[in-house]
């Protein structure tokens, strides 16, 4: 997927000006936040479970290479092939090769963030393989001219029923309907044909379990089952950080993932897929491939950003983020929106390609307190800001202003003098009014609100005068 993260400000302005999106964001916010709050109350040891989940993920990251080798060994013993991809390009190349080898004309897909990162659909199309998204949300985006997703688990959360109704009528050439069950039935009918005719299924993976060589898929629609069991060939594409040691670890993480994501105590489907169809078995693929992708992950191991690799892609951080709630996910410009995206996008696509993202957060730490694996997201955002400054990636004016302000703040007498003039200037601007409608030195502030006038003298001056 091509990143549009460098256009964050324009993207955000467009989101703010879109009334349909704003209405949808308001509804979605209530749903996700309230449901999660109820769901975590069912756990009497929620905090302890978070701590345990964090430990599991940390344990893996400390010896990521060993756990991956273990996974490879066990998965291969069950008849799977494990392939390694350095980046998105390699992912595309490998999938196309597999497709050609097995004479694939059509591939059905269920959610895979990595295939989105890699831009796999375009590569498949170029190679004459038709990719069909089968997650309802992803399907809607695909038939809407490959619109980018706005959320990692609810990719069309920004869309209204009316928009979908129009889209279905146009694409399926059926009478327009706004009854949701009828719309889903229509999608099922269209997709069923594809499930039955596709030679290859492509899925992501929520977790890879080292002790059994399995992939765990956490879904709500059931399409994941079709994609992974009906076609002859199944390709799992996922990041190398997704491995966990045992099934017991999976059980711990599963207490948190659906609750944090959608407020469900368990998702509708949890599939554990292990190996190829054995002799005498009636379903499952004849060929199973795991493509385990680096794409910048290995570089984070051992770095100051390693904590981010704990992420289990639940989306809670974005659902609770005041900025995400205001502008939606597409504004972030890549597959990963919200706080996790503001950390991942610059790390995976280059600091210089997402300069706004680490700053587009109030550091309110609502994300940090809901994250099921306790990733200190605000802290990571702050470190990215530091990295930008170190690499001279901030505008000259901003760097100078920051330096000048700090320089003065270190010199109390100068600071006293500067602030004395500063507040008088602001008070003069206010001209006796309670607030200033347009502030030349900080136009951003007065874009959408007034700047309250200062009292006119500093505390320092008044306190001095009083103690005399």
């Amino acid at each position: 997927m091509k990143s549009r993260a460098h256009r964050f400000k324009e993207n955000a302005a467009a989101s703010l000006a879109n009334p349909v999106l704003q209405a949808n964001l308001r509804t979605a916010k209530g749903k996700f936040v309230d449901k999660r709050a109820i769901a975590i109350k069912e756990l009497d040891d929620f905090e302890a479970t978070r701590e345990a989940a964090k430990d599991i993920r940390n344990r893996v990251l400390e010896h990521l290479d060993l756990w991956l080798e273990k996974f490879e060994e066990v998965a291969c013993a069950r008849g799977a092939k494990v392939l390694w991809a350095k980046d998105g390009e390699e992912v595309c190349r490998l999938v196309v090769e597999i497709g050609k080898q097995h004479g694939v004309k059509k591939a059905v897909k269920s959610k895979s963030m990595l295939s989105e990162e890699a831009g796999l659909n375009q590569a498949l199309e170029a190679a004459g393989i038709r990719p069909v998204e089968t997650d309802l949300g992803e399907y809607i985006l695909q038939i809407n001219d490959n619109e980018p997703p706005s959320h990692i688990i609810a990719p069309v959360v920004h869309k209204s029923l009316d928009e979908v109704a129009d889209l279905f009528a146009k694409t399926h050439k059926t009478p327009r309907k706004t009854d949701i069950p009828a719309l889903t039935r229509e999608a099922r009918e269209v997709l069923r044909e594809h499930f039955l005719s596709a030679e290859m299924g492509i899925s992501g993976g929520n977790f890879l379990i080292a002790e059994t060589g399995s992939v765990a898929l956490v879904t709500n629609e059931g399409n994941g089952r079709m994609v992974t069991t009906l076609p002859r060939v199944h390709v799992v594409i996922t990041g190398i950080e997704k491995v966990i040691p045992t099934l017991e670890d999976l059980a711990t993480l599963m207490r948190l993932l659906p609750r944090s994501a959608t407020g469900q105590s368990i998702s509708n489907y949890v599939s554990l897929l292990t190996g190829v169809k054995a002799a005498g078995e009636s379903d499952g693929p004849e060929h199973l491939y795991f493509i385990l992708v680096d794409s910048g992950r290995a570089g984070l191991v051992g770095s100051e950003f390693q904590d981010m690799l704990r992420c289990i892609r639940c989306g809670a951080c974005m659902n609770h983020c005041p900025v995400y709630q205001t502008i939606g996910g597409q504004a972030y410009g890549w597959g990963y929106p919200g706080p996790m995206g503001s950390v991942l996008t610059p790390l995976y696509t280059g600091l210089e390609n997402a300069l706004d993202l680490p700053h587009a957060a109030t550091l309110c730490n609502q994300c940090g307190v809901v994250c099921p694996v306790k990733i200190p997201l605000p802290d990571l955002l702050r470190r990215l800001r530091e990295k930008q400054l170190e690499n001279h990636l901030r505008p000259w004016f901003e760097r100078m202003a920051l330096k000048a302000w700090a320089w003065v703040a270190e010199r109390p007498s100068l600071y006293a003098l500067a602030t004395r003039f500063g507040v008088r200037y602001l008070a003069w601007l206010a001209g006796g009014q309670k607030s200033i409608p347009l502030l030349g030195i900080a136009p951003g502030w007065t874009q959408g609100r007034d700047f309250p006038a200062p009292e006119g003298k500093t505390f320092r001056e008044l306190y001095r005068a009083r103690s005399r």
Binding site: T326, T362, Q366, W407, G448, P454, L462
Partner: protein, 240 residues
């Protein structure tokens, strides 16, 4: 008990009366209160903007100015937390300074936390006529656990608190965020103001001036000239 007041740069510049209100509360609590004269800013804006070098220098300056006191009280949850919890990280490469930061951190309190948990102020000096709604500022709430303290004090002052929806949600201030992403920031503030006004309270009260200026600025832009926006120290020392 030697108490130092760290006024914070925003209060120094924008709302000196909040500083004096804090002084009055601390005096009422029986403390011998000093306001070290060379204080400026805790350095949070530098740290949050990624300027580690400046953040280090300002941290050291503040530590040297305040470490001689029994307690350091700050009428802002976000500045208090910066000193208490971020300084040790900021000074992580200099063990000696880090130890001084940790030692100071133990004696740093947000104002309402100090009044309720350390000096147990029962007789609040002010009287405020009118019902209020309270905005829980993010850092105070999530890093220092400031939630019950301001409400307890307001109760002692006879002030009724009308809880708004989403009291714990961010107001959209976020320091430099409010200037860099003015439109987004103001849109978040609008939700906060709508929730606050829906309570019918006469005043929106909080413990962090940054948030309060943001909320006040948005209210006035929305044409609301009557709802007051006050720091809790002002309410607790009000003479109405």
């Amino acid at each position: 008990m030697k108490v130092a007041l760290f006024v914070t740069c925003l209060i120094d510049l924008m709302r000196p009366r909040v500083g004096f209100a804090a002084l009055e509360l601390l005096t009422a609590a029986g403390g011998e209160v000093e306001v070290p004269e060379t204080q400026t800013c805790c350095g949070q804006p530098a740290w949050n903007s990624g300027d580690r070098a400046s953040a280090i220098r300002l941290a050291k300056k503040l530590i040297a100015e305040f470490e001689g006191f029994d307690y350091v009280v700050v009428p802002s949850g976000s500045c208090a937390d910066h000193i208490k919890h971020e300084y040790p990280a900021i000074l992580g490469d200099e063990p000696e300074w880090q130890a001084r930061a940790v030692a100071l951190g133990r004696r740093v309190y947000e104002l309402t936390d100090f009044l309720v948990h350390v000096v147990r102020l029962e007789a609040v000096p002010g009287r405020f006529a009118g019902r209020v709604t309270y905005h829980d500022s993010c850092t105070g709430l999530r890093s220092l656990g400031i939630k019950a303290q301001p409400r307890a004090l307001l109760k002692r002052a006879g002030v009724e608190v009308l809880e708004m929806n989403g009291a714990e949600e961010c107001c959209g201030f976020g320091g430099t965020f409010s200037v860099k992403f003015g439109e987004i920031s103001a849109a978040i503030a609008e939700r906060k103001c709508a929730n606050a006004c829906a309570t019918g309270a006469a005043a929106i009260v909080g413990g962090d001036l940054g948030c309060l200026l943001n909320i006040e600025g948005k209210l006035r832009r929305m044409g609301d000239e009557t709802t007051q926006v006050l720091h809790i120290a002002e309410v607790l020392t009000a003479k109405s």
